[in-house]
């Protein structure tokens, strides 16, 4: 039985009257590919924010690889091995695509604050271009990030997280904002990279089809709680889940 990589234990967070996270307890094991579904405001993104340190839980613990991470800032948690992509891609608009990736690689190598050797060094550049290739972004390598199309922005956002060689990858709505035709293409690209590297992955998704097709385990969120947890078919057929997430049974 693979070990637990991430454990959330009774994680709770309130914003005023709203309980964005209500005693969430989950265990993610190594190699899993977990989809998270839920209506808007059900606490999915909050969960990601809590596990990556952007928010501090009012109660409960977050344990990663056996180490208590509760309350640590994102910078430290990232260094420990969790990488995350965002609902709205967080990019460096004034750098080029390749430069953005190189910066992530530099950080991963612990050379982010190096001030003498150049960013564009042979080993990194080659590897960076290869990574861009895998994500289908090679043509944009030397272009400014601002020139990327929407789907490309998403992919770059994920590529930047991937370049950190994380042990756990969290993706927040990887296909939102991507056109319907491109959705599956994007997911196929991602899945290939994930499988090749056997990355433990959690992805938040709105699109049921995407979750059904790519997830191997699904968590359903509602009102800050996990109301279902299991195989995609079972969870997505559950009437309670359908009512909460889709609004109908």
């Amino acid at each position: 039985m693979p070990d637990a990589i991430l454990q959330a234990v009774d994680v709770t967070k309130s914003f005023g009257m709203v309980k964005a996270a209500d005693g969430i307890s989950v265990e993610i094991r190594a190699g899993e590919l977990v989809g998270i579904v839920g209506a808007n405001g059900s606490g999915k993104t909050t969960f990601l924010n809590l596990t990556t340190g952007y928010l501090k839980p009012d109660r409960g613990r977050v344990v990663f690889m056996g180490r208590d991470c509760t309350g640590l800032p994102p910078r430290v948690i990232t260094k420990l091995g969790i990488a995350r992509s965002f609902q709205i891609p967080q990019l460096y608009t004034n750098l080029t695509v390749l430069e953005s990736l190189l910066l992530a690689m530099a950080a991963q190598a612990g050379k982010g604050t190096g001030c003498w050797q150049p960013l564009y060094r042979a080993e990194w550049t080659t590897e960076g271009l290869q990574t861009l290739d895998r994500f289908g972004l090679r043509p944009y390598a030397r272009r400014p990030v601002s020139e990327l199309p929407e789907g490309g922005r998403k992919l770059l956002d994920i590529a930047l997280s991937f370049a950190l060689r994380p042990k756990l990858l969290l993706m927040d709505e990887p296909t939102s904002g991507v056109s319907i035709e491109d959705k599956f293409q994007v997911m196929d690209t991602l899945m290939k990279v994930i499988d090749e590297n056997r990355l433990t992955t959690i992805f938040v998704e709105h699109d049921m089809e995407v979750v059904q097709r790519y997830g191997r385990r699904v968590l359903a969120f509602n009102d800050g709680q996990v109301i279902a947890d299991g195989a995609p078919d079972a969870v997505l057929a559950d009437p309670e889940v359908r009512k909460a997430v889709l609004g109908r049974a």
Partner: protein, 298 residues
């Protein structure tokens, strides 16, 4: 004990003027999210114009009692001209651009205003004492005070109070608060955000000019006192919390009292002490006393 009373009174008077300048600055920051470095320049302009108008009035034989009218008229003119002019012609062009650029824009306007005043009114000090001396003095425990100082405090409280009421109580005030809290949603529900910007800036400019006009009769108006005012006003709202009206009041009181203490006890260090306090407050509580920590939504 006597020094203490003097300090408290002096500090409060100073706080009253600071409040008028700062409330405009914090309003502009709250609504437009821009620090108006030109604010001190507008303050000085108000002082110059009001003093100039009052002197002219006296020159043509007008009643000294009418100088008070000039103290009001000057700021109104400055506010109504400088406000829309600066906001529409200049600020509007840099909305949405990098904050550094916005700061530099208001800084360049400050430079222009500073020299403009020198150009118009020369470098000799301008002074009209009538508004101050007309009201006479009174004595408490052997220390002489002027009724003007009392009026100053009164006007400041009145003004601050009405502004807070206007913002909390009136419909338009609530619109302004809505824009402060969330620009996008305000626009989405049909609020004319551009108009709110202009009105807020104009109102802020008027407050600054009024502060300058009111303090002018107590000091000589000289070039260069705009800088001190800008930095002090910033210290006030930094301490109180940028964008907070109550913060401006509390900050003004704190800075006013500290300055009075420094002037009477340690004159060598007067500005230094204020900078130091500002640094200490910000280190302890970066968002200021009444400010809110804003976490970006991701």
């Amino acid at each position: 004990m006597r020094t203490l009373t003097v300090i408290v009174i002096d500090g409060t008077v100073f706080a009253a003027v600071l409040f008028l300048i700062s409330i405009g600055l914090t309003l502009i920051f709250g609504v437009l999210r821009i620090l108006n470095i030109a604010h001190g320049g507008i303050y000085a302009f108000g002082a110059y114009l009001a003093t100039f108008l009052a002197l002219r009035l006296l020159g043509i034989g007008g009643s000294p009692y009418l100088t008070y009218l000039m103290l009001l008229a000057g700021p109104i003119v400055v506010g109504l001209i400088a406000g829309p002019l600066i906001e529409r012609v200049f600020l509007q062009r840099v909305y949405g651009r990098a904050e550094a650029i916005q700061l530099l824009l208001t800084f360049s306007i400050f430079l222009i205003l500073d020299d403009l005043m020198k150009l118009i009114w020369g470098t000799q000090p301008l002074f009209v004492s009538e508004p101050y001396t007309l009201l006479g003095e009174f004595t408490i425990t052997g220390i002489r005070y002027s009724w003007y100082q009392v009026v100053l405090i009164g006007v400041s409280i009145l003004f601050g109070g009405s502004l807070v009421w206007a913002v909390r109580g009136t419909r338009y005030g609530k619109i302004v608060v809505a824009v402060i809290n969330d620009r996008e949603i305000s626009q989405a529900i049909g609020i004319n955000v551009n108009r709110v910007y202009m009105v807020s800036f104009t109102l802020g400019a008027f407050c600054a000019a009024l502060g300058g006009a009111l303090i002018a009769p107590t000091i000589a108006v000289v070039p260069g006192f705009a800088v001190d005012a800008t930095v002090l006003a910033f210290a006030v709202i930094a301490i109180g919390g940028m964008g907070s009206l109550e913060g401006a009041a509390l900050g003004a009181l704190i800075v006013g009292l500290i300055r009075a203490m420094a002037v009477h006890l340690l004159p060598e260090a007067d500005l230094v002490v204020i900078y130091l306090v500002m640094i200490l407050v910000l280190v302890a509580r970066p968002q200021g006393l009444f400010g809110q920590v804003e976490l970006r939504r991701i």
